[in-house]
Structure formats: C-alpha cells, structure tokens
C-alpha cells in the first residue's frame, strides 16, 4: 500500500515534469487554475501554507504572510498582509504577487474578491486525516514548480510517520485519550478533525472520536463517564499547560478519572499541532511518546 503510494507519487512527479507549461489544474474549491512559469512573488494566506512554502525552499519567493505566520523564524520578517479571516486586499494587491495561496479558513468572499482584482489565487482545503497532508504538499509543489522538493519532503515525512507506526506495531491495548484545547471550558476535537486521526495513529482512542464534528464543547459528566487514561492538553506554552494541567488535577469532580488519578496529563504544543503542515510529524512523535512511553524508552 505504502509502496504503491510512493510509486504513484513518483509517477505524478514524472508526468508533471514531462508535461508542458500553462497546464490547468483544479484547486480545492473546484476552480480551474492555470499553471504558468515558476512564481516569483508568493503571498500565503495561512500559517501552515507558509510553513510548507518555507520547507520547499521558497524563502525568497514569499513576499507576504499573515500575522499568525510565526514559523519558521524567517516568516516573522515577511510583510504582513493581515489575518486569516481579514486579509487586507490593498496590501496584497500592492505586493503584486504572481501566486496567492489561500486555505480553508479564509472566507470564500475574500478569495473571490482577490480573484476579481486579477490575482491568481489557488485555494487549498484542510484534510481530516494525516494522510491528507501528502496531496496538499503535492499540490503546493505543483503550483510553485517545486515538485521534486515536495516529493522529497513528503517521503521524509512518510518515513517519520512509518517509524512511529513501527514502534507501536506491538501495541494491542488502545488507551482512552481526551484531547483538551487551550482555554477555559472543555473544548475538544471530534471525528472530523485531523487531530482525531493523529490520536488514532498513536494507537489510542479519542473519547470524543464518535462525534462527527470538528471542534466541540465536551461535557464534564461525559468525561467522567469516558474515564480517559491520558489527557493531552494543547497549549501555547509550558506555563499555560501547567495551569490547565493543575485545573484537571485539582478538580474534585474528576478525581475518579484514570488520567487524573495517575497524573497522566501531557503537553502538546498548540503551535505545532494546530498547523496542518510538516510539523505534524513532530506532533505525532510527541503524542505517541506521551501515550506509549514504554515503546520509546527502549530500542524497538
């Protein structure tokens, strides 16, 4: 299966290299997009797109990013075009980009308005599993004419995901996991979130995984009933995580919950896990290590 995927990827790369320029491809909103020469001025409308562009070596070509684009470090020094939902049209236009990469989360109205200004906009959708990262990389590779780099990056990431899977191959008991999003209230992710797949890839069961939602507010009562063995807290920093952890550990209503009894409340860097990009491999490794530490202590 994996080998087949790799061959397919290779084939698509080869066919791309062989094909002529000015080919039209379809973006994730179903709109046609004409490929011309390699873009020289790229504006990214989402932090994960920015990360992928940097990972493909497009440091010089990126001329504009959102104010949330903080990774890698060099992204912070790029011109800011506004936020995810409020990109500034005038700012984008003034950078005269020859490629604007939008992402689900940018309002469609904004995308349409940008197209009306005559800008070439390519729109990408977020996936609901880790595997969707690969077509995403491939598409960005195509529109930026970095197919080779994209294929290499994809294969590196695949190797890392496979390595985690190999380490966990002997695991038979899937622990129950509750993923808590930062902030007050019990926000978690349901089946439609790729984080649900991230937990499943760690051979664990997301207690909210039966709910077909992306994000949702969970009830304390249900959490007690579910009795998760591990609680993973998505937080922006260690102090923020510690605050959230102490809230769980000191909550008398949760004292019967396994994760609270054993103190297995773990940190997952929100910045890493919330970007649908290359660092998801980091997030997977960290989470797998937190859920199955015994598999990582010794050599496999």
């Amino acid at each position: 299966m994996l080998r087949a995927a790799r061959v397919l990827l290779l084939l698509s790369v080869v066919s791309l290299v062989a094909s002529a320029q000015n080919e039209t491809i379809i973006d994730d909103t179903g709109a046609p997009f004409t490929l011309s020469g390699p873009p020289r001025r790229i504006v990214s409308l989402a932090p994960n797109v920015t990360e992928i562009l940097f990972a493909l070596g497009l440091d010089k070509e990126i001329v504009g990013v959102t104010r949330y684009c903080d990774h890698p470090e060099a992204a912070k020094r790029k011109e800011k075009i506004g936020g995810l939902i409020d990109p500034n049209l005038e700012m984008i236009k003034s950078l005269s980009p020859d490629l604007v990469i939008a992402f689900r989360g940018n309002p469609l109205r904004t995308v349409e308005r940008l197209k009306k200004l005559g800008l070439p906009v390519f729109v990408l959708n977020i996936g609901n599993d880790l595997g969707s990262l690969f077509p995403l990389l491939e598409k960005i590779g195509r529109v930026t004419h970095r197919e080779k780099e994209a294929a290499a990056l994809a294969s590196r990431l695949k190797d890392r995901l496979d390595a985690v899977r190999d380490r966990l191959s002997a695991v038979t008991a899937w622990p129950r996991v509750f993923l808590a999003l930062h902030g007050t209230g019990l926000w978690t992710c349901g089946r439609e979130s790729y984080l649900n797949d991230l937990i499943a890839s760690c051979k664990a069961r997301n207690v909210a995984g039966g709910i077909s939602r992306n994000w949702l507010h969970y009830s304390l009562e249900q959490l007690v009933q579910d009795d998760p063995e591990v609680i993973i807290v998505l937080a922006r920093s260690i102090p923020e995580f510690e605050k959230a952890r102490d809230r769980f550990l000191k909550d008398a209503r949760l004292r019967g919950v396994a994760a609270v009894r054993t103190g297995r409340v773990r940190f997952l860097d929100e910045n890493v896990a919330s970007r649908f990009g290359p660092r998801l491999a980091d997030a997977l490794e960290e989470t797998a290590r937190n859920i199955h530490p015994e598999r990582f202590d010794k050599k496999p």
Binding site: L84, I85, D86, S94, N106
Partner: protein, 330 residues
C-alpha cells in the same frame, strides 16, 4: 437663527465634511499614496495606482456612503413611523432577519449568483423582508395595527432570528469565520458590483420617502388626526414600512449588520434642524453617509494594519448617545 438658516448651515457643514472624508478615505490605506498620485490618475498622467484608487478605495468609500445613507434614512422613517425615538432598523427585525438569511446560505453551502447578486445577499434580503412581513401580518388586526404590538412583535421575531443564527453558527463552527462578517459588519470586501446593486434602490427609496414626507408629518399627529386631514393612513404606513425594510435589508446584504447608525444620525439631524420630515429624510441620508465614511476611516486606521469591524466604531459612538437620550427622557 431661523430654521432655514440652520438648514443652510448644516448643508454647508455636511458638504465640507463629505468632501474632506471622501478625500481622506481615498488617500488612506496600507499602500502609501499622496494627493499627487491621485491627481496623476485623474489627469491620466499615470495609472500606477488605478486598481488601488478605483477598485479598492473608491468603491469602498461609495459603498460606505450608500449604506450609511440607507441605514440612517431607514431609521428616520421608522422613528417617525413609530413616533418612538428608540426605533431603528433592528427594531422591526429587518437586520436580524437579513443576517439570518445570510447565515442560512453559508450553513447549507448555497452558492449561486442571481441577477448579479451573490446568493448570500439574496438570502439576506429575502429573509429580512420575509421576517418584517411576518411581523407585520402578525400585528395586524382588521387592517389596523397598533404600533406597540408591531414594535414588540418585531423585537421578539428579531430575537428569534438571532437565536437561530447563533444555533446555525454553533452547529457549523467551521463556517464561523464566514459569519463574522454578517454579525459585525465590514466594508473590507466592497466592490463596484455592490455599489451598482444598491445605489439605484437607495435613490428610489429616498425619492419615495421625500414624496410622502408631508404625510409623515401628519402621521406624527396621530392616525386619526392624519386621516381626518386627508392622509390615507393605512396605505402610507404600508409604503413607509416597505421602504424602510428594503433599505435595512439592502444595507445588511451589502455590508453585514452595522448598528446604531439608523438610531443616532436621525436624532442628531432632528436636534439641529427640527422634526420636519421634508428635510429630515434628505438630511439624515446625507449625514448618515458622511458618518459612516468617517467610521470606516477610523475602522481602517485605528489599529492599522488590522481592521476593526465597523460595528465596533458605530457602537462606541452610538451607544453613549443612546444612553444620553434615555436619561434625558426620564
């Protein structure tokens, strides 16, 4: 000062403010431009900033003016209609209905273009109009309807529409970012199509309001008195309600919900030039347009490069005034 002199003075002040606000809006933005650049474009010497001046800034400032005029005229009509200074387009449910329509459209992913309008605009308009008609029918008894009933039914129906809007947003948290626009209002995506789509209706509505302004002056004296003075009360009331709803729904469909404009601007104008609707309507439209141009300018510049939702600005200016009014009436 006589009323005529006051009116002349106000017209002069508003015209100057309009010109200044218009120019400031044209020259303000993330891209540094000078008056010379604008002059170069106008004289055809250089078209370097043509997209920025014409497609982005001019369409935006015109849309802000039109929406401000529409909301303010709608408010002026409703305040006369209800003889209640607290009335504005929100009260009869037009705004909440319109934003509900837009969110329904987002929720079900409906995306078609009807006669050049986006489906979100069409839904906003239809739902706004539908809700007000519903309120109107509910509060009517034998061709007569009590203003209090209409007012309260409007508030209740508006609350219902807002609740359903929140419900849909909650059910589809992914679309939240799309919906923010409808709830807080913004001119960030203004374009010429929107300007062209609402301009004729705003002009038409202003014409209709002016035409019946004398009847509104009679209505203020009470329906029975107005009737005895020869005003066809029921028909005039229907027309005014339709015109004000159309104006409110148009503005919501163009720019989302922008509060307080319809409430405070007609008040200011009434304080300055008196309650004669023959002048109140026209002056409210002009003042509302000018007011929103300045609000949009603030929204764009206060936290530059981030843009504030314009509703934040209009509420910051409008709410204290509303409280002042309430206090004064005590």
């Amino acid at each position: 000062m006589t009323v005529t002199a006051k009116r002349r003075l106000l017209l002069a002040v508003l015209t100057i403010l309009l010109a200044a606000g218009f120019l400031a809006s044209m020259l303000t933005g993330p891209v540094r431009t000078t008056a010379t650049d604008l002059l170069d474009l106008l004289t055809g010497r250089s078209s370097a900033f043509s997209t920025i001046f014409i497609d982005l800034r001019l369409s935006r400032v015109l849309l802000a003016f039109l929406v401000g005029a529409a909301l303010s005229l709608s408010g002026a009509i409703l305040q006369g209609y209800f003889q209640n200074p607290m009335a504005d387009p929100f009260v009869v449910g037009a705004s909440s209905g319109a934003s509900f329509g837009a969110v329904v459209c987002i929720y079900f992913g409906i995306d078609v273009t009807v006669l050049g309008f986006s489906s979100q605009s069409v839904f906003a308009f239809a739902a706004g109009f539908g809700l007000v008609s519903f309120v109107y029918v509910l509060s009517r008894r034998k061709d007569l309807y009590r203003v209090e009933t209409l007012l309260l039914t409007g508030i209740a129906a508006g609350a219902m529409a807002s609740a359903m809007t929140s419900f849909l947003l909650f059910m589809k948290s992914d679309s939240f970012e799309q919906a923010v626009f409808w709830l807080l209002g913004s001119f960030a995506l203004a374009d010429w199509r929107q300007v062209g789509a609402i301009a004729p209706y705003v002009v038409l509505c202003l014409g209709a309001a002016q035409w019946f302004a004398k009847d509104m002056n009679l209505l203020v004296m009470g329906d029975e008195t107005a009737q005895s003075l020869g005003c066809p009360v029921v028909r005039v009331r229907k027309i005014f309600l339709a015109v004000s709803t159309l104006l409110a729904a148009l503005s919501v469909s163009a720019s989302g919900i922008i509060g307080f404009v319809g409430l405070v601007v007609p008040h200011w104008v009434r304080i300055l030039i008196g309650p004669d609707h023959r002048y109140l309507f026209a002056f409210s439209s002009l003042a509302g347009g000018v007011f929103l141009i300045y609000c949009d300018l603030l929204a764009r510049t206060l936290l530059f490069p981030t843009e504030l939702p314009i509703g934040v600005i209009t509420a910051a200016v409008g709410a204290p005034f509303f409280i002042y009014l309430l206090n004064k009436r005590k």
